[in-house]
């Protein structure tokens, strides 16, 4: 599915936009400080392919540590607090934890990419319940990766290989399913300002999801290189993005989060950067480049907004988490 699209992306990138990609260079960074924690390993506080992140209302950080088959919990500064999970398909075990969200009561929901299920834990990591199985029927999954929660404590899931979004109540009862498969060609995505918008409400491997204060659902439509915004009832509202390397464009959208002001933060996997958009989807700012220094990324796969407005980014290939404090000018 991706050979042609990635070749196209590379070609267009080289031919047309090598001079436009450095738009942010020379401009002030949108963050005032960055803290880094974690390194590759299997001990507490270390990671082996951290994949997803969420932050609760108290500022505690939860990380899905994919290849260590566990969830780790940290305080807001990155100090290790606890962990749970071992490899397996039993209750409370994980094969590949791939998505996280915390509800208003502090319960932690964890998606498992390989086991096609959601597990619910209390804030101490005690198993509460599970739901889901491999399949295409409502309530089943094919590699769930993104989780978010709305104002009614409903869990919204990016069901990636089923190219759809599903909604459940806090007990795992299926409520709604939206979306189907529709890839957009690289050519049309690149020149989407010339074409009528297509495939509204349809997806090409939706990887992450974020619900805003108005219960609008923001879907990271990863291989369509765009973000789609749906109403709480799943109706398409608008989209933004398209393939490219300049501001407002993406090369595989991954993590997505919305802050209290409605600004949307999107991790741009191949461009190794984070982009900021306003609530209408207009591009505001960006930061990041390839590398392993603070502020650089090696494949950001997820991000979260903390209660203080800090941005927590999973730097997957560097096996670490970066915490960015945004500049006052951006706030």
């Amino acid at each position: 599915m991706r050979r042609a699209s990635l070749m196209g992306i590379s070609l267009l990138y080289l031919l047309l936009f090598t001079g436009m990609m450095s738009e942010a260079h020379g401009q002030a960074l949108p963050y005032s400080s960055v803290e880094v924690f974690g390194k590759k390993g299997e001990h507490s506080g270390e990671f082996n392919e951290p994949f997803a992140i969420t932050v609760d209302s108290s500022g505690a950080i939860y990380v899905a540590d994919a290849r260590n088959h566990r969830v780790q919990k940290f305080d807001g500064t990155g100090k290790f607090l606890q962990q749970w999970g071992t490899q397996g398909d039993g209750l409370g075990q994980f094969e590949k934890p791939s998505g996280l969200v915390v509800d208003g009561q502090g319960a932690v929901y964890v998606a498992d990419y390989d086991l096609d299920r959601i597990q619910k834990f209390d804030a101490q990591g005690n198993f509460l319940r599970e739901w889901g199985a491999n399949g295409k029927k409502p309530g089943q999954f094919s590699s769930p990766t993104g989780l978010s929660i709305d104002s009614e404590n409903h869990i919204v899931v990016a069901d990636m290989y089923n190219h759809r979004v599903q909604k459940f109540d806090a007990q795992g009862k299926h409520l709604s399913t939206w979306g189907s498969y529709h890839p957009i060609s690289v050519f049309k995505s690149f020149f989407n300002f010339l074409f009528c918008q297509e495939a509204e409400g349809k997806f090409n491997y939706p990887a992450r999801i974020a619900v805003d204060n108005a219960d609008r659902i923001h879907v990271s439509d990863s291989y369509n290189n765009r973000v789609q915004v749906l109403s709480g009832q799943g109706e398409f509202e608008f989209q933004f993005g398209g393939v490219g390397s300049w501001g407002g464009r993406f090369r595989v959208t991954s993590g997505i989060a919305v802050d209290h002001a409605g600004r949307v933060f999107v991790a741009d996997f191949y461009n190794n950067r984070i982009q900021i958009f306003d609530k209408e989807g207009s591009y505001l700012d960006q930061w990041g480049e390839p590398g392993d220094e603070p502020g650089q990324f090696n494949g950001p796969t997820d991000l979260a907004v903390g209660p203080e407005g800090n941005i927590y980014v999973v730097d997957w290939g560097n096996h670490r988490i970066q915490i960015f404090k945004l500049s006052k000018e951006v706030k």
Binding site: M1, R2, K96, Y113, M160, Y161, Y205, A207
Partner: protein
């Protein structure tokens, strides 16, 4: 003639005896699969998931830098190209881009 027959018999016995330990130590195949477009974990994990379902699967490692999956099979197991190809397709990749670069027994 008797000498030749006995030599052949002894050779047969020798081959049979030395072959047994080799079979016992067979560690299976190591198959390197080149998959175009294998660059990010969202899809790489999908390929890994499908390869794990193959009969004879023992271990798989994905190397994103080189765009390859290295599949280790169980001793004595045979995983066909067709089965691998199907797994790759199920993971959402182009089947025509698969290459079996290495196939060896230890």
């Amino acid at each position: 003639m008797k000498v030749k027959m006995s030599s052949l018999f002894l050779a047969f016995i020798f081959i049979a005896l030395t072959a047994l330990p080799l079979n016992a130590e067979d560690s299976g195949e190591k198959i390197t699969i080149k998959v175009e477009g294998l660059y990010c974990p969202f899809c790489a994990y999908g390929l890994e998931k499908q390869l794990k379902k193959l009969d004879g699967y023992k271990k798989v490692e994905i190397n994103l830098k080189h765009g390859v999956a290295e599949l280790q099979t169980q001793p004595g197991a045979t995983v066909t190209d067709e089965a691998i190809q199907q797994a790759v397709e199920d993971a959402g990749f182009d089947s025509a881009s698969i290459k079996r670069l290495q196939k060896e027994s230890k």
